[in-house]
């Protein structure tokens, strides 16, 4: 019974999105789907960060770097030709394991590269390693000091990407191939694939939401909130605070990297600006505007704001409007724009229940 009320809204959301797609396609506004897809991948990052910040109370100003780490690993591995090393032992081994794929490059020549699926796995493994390495010492820091450490980590990644030749320096990496997932599904930015990509992106986003909602309402979620409230008290209650914080940090980093990898295949490329500090700050700001410990708020605010700003609705005032909305939402509704609504609903439900009791 507990499971139903939690997942019902997710199902309703999925139905609404299907309706949206059908309506947009019927109205000939298919191009709107493009921004909706990109917004979905960014929303996955925001959702992961929401669990870390809102529930566990640990700030991270470095999630743009994890996003870029995932995207760049996929981009580098799927574009670097291994044809020259065709006969070496490790290439043959990888090929036998099915991790390599022979494809045509832009000019029609045959090249051998890592398959997108294997690159995705490599991206997740690399992110896992980096997140553990950074998270272990960083999560011992608190408050502003943790913010600084994660910000510093993000800047290091950004500078390394910007200054290294094989990550394309300031140009980034382009010509990343599409990812054929099987079952006729392909992650690709071509207009012909747009509708299925809309469902892939939003399907993954809602799946993330459902998983995180379950997690937040489980024993682990309650433990995280205890850590947020009072870490020493949580420790005294026997909650393994350090291990839990690290696990949530790694989980949110993996979500960011996965979204980065998929969006890189969709975009056919990735650029250093993905790891920029302003991008990381934007993710944090979206979590805050969604109401901190509010996964639904984070999803709705981030998807809406990103969609509008990607559509160019705010014109040349894009940043200014984003900043102003941020200030407005946080100062007027610190619990998220949907909290006042939810409170009113709860109050009405309680009133109705009391009225029913009174009648009986």
């Amino acid at each position: 019974m507990r499971r139903l009320p939690l997942l019902l809204p997710v199902a309703i959301c999925a139905a609404l999105l299907t309706g949206l797609q059908l309506a947009l396609s019927a109205a000939g506004l298919q191009s709107y789907l493009n921004e909706a897809i990109i917004a979905a991948y960014h929303a996955i990052v925001v959702l992961g960060l929401c669990l870390l910040m809102g529930y566990a109370g640990q700030i991270s100003l470095g999630h743009g770097a994890f996003f870029a780490l995932g995207g760049y690993t996929s981009a580098v591995l799927t574009t670097a030709p291994l044809s020259a090393a065709r006969d070496s032992g490790w290439v043959r081994g990888l090929r036998l394991a099915g991790a390599l794929v022979e494809r045509e490059d832009l000019y029609g020549a045959q090249i051998l590269t890592v398959a997108p699926g294997a690159a995705f796995l490599a991206a997740l493994l690399l992110t896992l390693a980096v997140a553990l390495l950074i998270g272990y010492p960083a999560l011992r820091l608190r408050g502003h000091y943790l913010a600084m450490a994660t910000l510093g980590f993000g800047l290091i990644v950004y500078r390394l990407l910007l200054g290294t030749d094989w990550t394309g320096s300031a140009d980034g990496i382009s010509n990343v191939p599409p990812w054929h997932l099987g079952c006729g599904l392909t992650v690709s930015g071509r207009p012909a694939y747009r509708v299925q990509n809309f469902y892939i992106a939003w399907g993954l986003c809602l799946l993330t939401l459902a998983l995180l909602l379950r997690l937040a309402h489980s024993r682990i979620g309650r433990a995280l909130r205890a850590i947020h409230e009072h870490e020493a008290a949580a420790d005294a209650m026997g909650i393994p605070t350090a291990a839990l914080k690290l696990r949530v940090f790694v989980l949110s980093a993996l979500l960011a990297a996965g979204a980065g990898s998929l969006l890189t295949h969709y975009h056919r490329g990735i650029y250093p600006s993905a790891a920029d500090a302003t991008q990381s700050v934007r993710y944090v700001a979206l979590v805050a505007a969604g109401g901190m410990a509010n996964l639904w708020g984070a999803l709705l605010v981030s998807a809406t704001l990103n969609f509008l700003s990607l559509r160019g609705v705010f014109g040349s005032y894009d940043h200014a409007v984003f900043g102003a909305l941020l200030i407005l939402i946080v100062s007027l509704a610190p619990q998220g724009p949907f909290q006042p609504l939810a409170e009113r609903l709860a109050r009405r439900r309680r009133a109705r229940k009391e009225a029913a009791h009174g009648a009986a």
Partner: protein
Amino acid sequence: MPDVMQLLLQHAFSGITLGSIYAVVAIGFNIVYSTTGVLNFAQGEFVMLGGMTAVTLAAFTPLPVAIAGAVLLAGLCGAGLELALFRPLRRHSTLHMIIITIGLSIVIRDAALHIWDEKVRALPYFTGDEVSSVRLLGAAISPQVLWVLGTVGLLVLVLHVFYRHTLAGRAMRACASNPEAALLVGIDTANMRTLAFALSAALGGLGGCVISPISMTAYDMGAGLAIKGFAGAILGGLGHPMGAVVGGLLVGLAESYSVLSGIPAAYKDATAFAILLAALFLRPHGLFGSPERESLKEL
């Protein structure tokens, strides 16, 4: 003097110059943080605002007047923003306030882009010009560097006197150590918060003027400075006045010397932050901070 020594000295001077700029921003962070518990991420934007205003004013007024005008404007801006945005907030956590300062920095940056443009400007050198140099211990430095160092030194001194020996300064310190007790002895803590914002903004504005001839002024310079200044404040230990100066200088020196160590110049920021991370992991509360001090003002 051997060449190596001269090289080291030259880098030390450039590091100290960079570092003193970061120190100004770090001091600004500290003034607001210790009085309000808020980290003002728009601190870098005040530096930009000061520089931009001074450049504009300098076109038709003498330089000292332009600088005074810029400092005044930045200070008023800081006070105005505090009055408009932070004073009305009652049930907001510190983290909410910090997010608001982030929003504020985005808005100010974009406003500056629309008021001025994306061009890089600079004030004229206060004395001499870009080629004139002073020999100091065998290293050549621009006179403007001496202006920067002198200003930062003077600021630290003035702030020290202000905090120790004036009523307003002592009231601000009282707010920092215990806001409720300060309220009980009749200090208007709300006004002290406004004063802290105004002071740190004016300070940032002055910093923006002094560094303008060397590091130029552009609408998007604020974010980078805020990050470096934040790094300095954190490294020194938040809320520790001298810590900000030492922290800022260390960040500048790390940046300057990382070039010397053979690491490619493109990675100098990465190196500086790697050192910062290492320092933080070893001393989780900064060089001069103490756990007790921080635990009072958690996020």
